[in-house]
Assembly symmetry: C2
Homo-oligomer: 368 residues x 2
Amino acid sequence: MSTRRHFLHQAGLTTLALSLPFANSLAQESSQKDQRVLRVALMGLGSYATRVAEAMKTCTKAKLVGVISGTPSKIELWQQKYGIPPQNCYTYDTVAEIKNNKDIDAVYVITPNALHKEHTIAVAKAGKHVICEKPMAISSQEGKEMIAACKTAGVRLLIGYRMHFEANTLDVVKRQRAGEFGKTLFFQGLSGFVIGNPSQWRLNKALSGGGAMMDIGIYSINGARYLLGEEPIWVTAQESKTDPVKFGEGIDETITFQMGFPSGATASCLSTYSLNYLDKFFLSGTKGFAEMQPSTGYGPIKAWTHSGPLQHPHVTHQTTQMDEMAALIFDDKQPLLPVDGEEGLKDLYLVEAIYQAVKSGQKVSLPR
Amino acid sequence: MSTRRHFLHQAGLTTLALSLPFANSLAQESSQKDQRVLRVALMGLGSYATRVAEAMKTCTKAKLVGVISGTPSKIELWQQKYGIPPQNCYTYDTVAEIKNNKDIDAVYVITPNALHKEHTIAVAKAGKHVICEKPMAISSQEGKEMIAACKTAGVRLLIGYRMHFEANTLDVVKRQRAGEFGKTLFFQGLSGFVIGNPSQWRLNKALSGGGAMMDIGIYSINGARYLLGEEPIWVTAQESKTDPVKFGEGIDETITFQMGFPSGATASCLSTYSLNYLDKFFLSGTKGFAEMQPSTGYGPIKAWTHSGPLQHPHVTHQTTQMDEMAALIFDDKQPLLPVDGEEGLKDLYLVEAIYQAVKSGQKVSLPR
C-alpha cells in the first residue's frame, strides 16, 4: 500500500487520484441530466394518443411507459403494441394509484376536452406531472382550477402546443421578434377541415365544449398570439351554420373572428368544420411578410417570407414536443413560446370571448 | 347594255350580279360592326388617366381622341403626347360643348371620387356614353342619381371594373359557376398597399369620400361578390388606425370586414393603406379552392386552383377593358360580370354598410 501511494505521490498523481471520485460524480450527474428520460403514461387511447405513441418511438428524452384507459381491450392492445408492462396499466378508476408507481413521471391527458379538468386534477393529486392536450379545458374556470391543482400538488402542467416547438414556426416567430417584418399589423389565420363521422365526441357539446373553434379554430387564436407577439384587447366574431343537423346546438361549424391588439394590429381568422384546404397563416408587416401553409397540420410545415422559403426539415411534431417537454420538466428550460397552464388559459379566455361576441353581436373588450 | 346583260345571263351570272349590292351592304355592315372604334375622351388627367392612355395605344376597338382637364398645361402635354386635336380638348367648364363633337363617343371619368357624380351627369347631358372609374361615387345616393341621369340621356354608364374582363379572373369565376369548387363557403380578400404622399386627394375626405375602403378595399367587396356569385345579406366590420395624423377623420386606414351570404358562405376581408404585400383572393369550396395573388394589381394576375395554375397570358387590363367596353356599347354584348351602374351601386351600398358597421359596432343587415 505504502509503495503504491508513494508511487502515486512520486508521479504527481495524488491530487488526480483524490479528485477522481468527485469528477466521476460530476460526470455522472451531468450524464444523468442529459440522459434522464421522461417516462410518460398516456391517458385516453384514441387516435391522437396513437399518433403520440408512434411519435414517441423516436424520442430521446421521453418514453411511453404506461397507459390509462376505460377500455380493457384497448389496454391489452397497447400492451402488446408498445410493450407496456401490466403494472403500468390503469383505468380511470385506478388513476390515483399511479401515486405509488415510481416508473411513471408524467401523464399525457388526451381524453375528450370536457374530461381534461377531472383527469388533470386526478393526475396532479397522484403527484405526477401533467401534459394536457389543447384545449386545456372547456372553460377558463376549469383551466384556473387545473392550474391551481397542479400548483398545490407541486407538479408541472404543460399544454400540448406542439407548434410551439416546431422549427419553421419558431424561425418565423424569431424573425418577427427581431423586427424583420417591420411593424406587424395583420395576421390572418385560416383553420379548418371537413369533419367526418357525425357521432364522434368532437360533435358532442357535452364532451367537446364547443365545435370547430374548440378543436381547430384555437390554432388561429394561438397563432395570432405567437406570430404577433402580443395579447388581444378586443374580439369580434360572426357565426355561419350551413348544416344544423350535423352541427347541433352549441357546436359551431364556421366562425370568422377578428382580434385587435394594443399595437393596432388586427387578426382576421376563420374556424370551420366544413372546408378543407384551410391551414394557412399570413403575417404582414410594414417591411415584409411571412406565410405558412400548412401552418399547423401534422405533416411538414411550409413557411416562407418576403425573402424566400424557410428550410427547416420536418420532424414529427409530437416527437419534438415530448422531447422538449422532458427538457422543460427536468431542466426547467424556458421555451420561446410558453406551453404552461397560463398559456392554455389565455386561449380559453379568447374562445369564450369569441363565443360571447357571436352571441351578443358586439365587440368584446379584453382586459390588458 | 343588252349585250352585257345577255352575256351575264348566258354565263349564268345574273343572280350573282343582282345580289352583289346586297352582299356588299352586308359585308360593309359586318365590317363596320367589327371595325367600329369607340372614340374616347379622358376626363381628369392624373396618373391613372396616363395609365389608361398608354393601355389604349394597343386597343383595337377603342381610341383615345380627346381630353378634359382643368389644367391647361396638362392639356397641352397630352395633345403633344397623344396627338389630341385642339377641337377635342375641353375644360370642366366647357364639357357641355362635347354635345356638338361628332368625333367623341364616350368620356372616361377619372377625376377624384367626389367629382364622379357631377362629371358623369355633365357627360350624360352632353349625350355621350360614360365610363366612370370605381368607386362610381362617394355615396349610393349619388350613384342612383348618376344611373338616372344616364338613363334619361339615353347613354350607357359603365364602371371601370377592369378585373371583370381579366382572363384569369373570368376563368376562376366560370369554374366557380360550373361547380368545380363544390359549394363555395369562404372567400378571403386582402386588399392593401402603403399609400405615399399624404397630401394627395385620396387622403382628403372631401375628394375621396373615404380612405382605403373607397380605393382598394372595394376590390375585396367586388371580388367576394364575383367569386362567390351571390350578394351579401349582412356585413360586420372593425376599424384600426395606427396613424391618425396621416389618416384623418373620415379616412379609414385599416378595416377588416366580413360579409355573410344567403348560401351560408362568409367573406373575410382586409382593406388597408398601411401594408404592402396585400393583394390576395382565396376562394374555398367543399370540393376545391382557387387562389389569386396578385388578384387585382395592374400587373399579371396569378391564379391557381386545387388542380393547378391557370395560364392565361397577361394583357394590360385597361386595354382589354376598353376594347370590351367598346363591344358592350356597340354590340350590346352582355358580359359575364356586369360593369353597369347597378353593379357600381351594389359595391357602394356595401361600402356604406361597412362604414355603418364600423361606427355602430353592429352587424348590418342588407335587403335580399
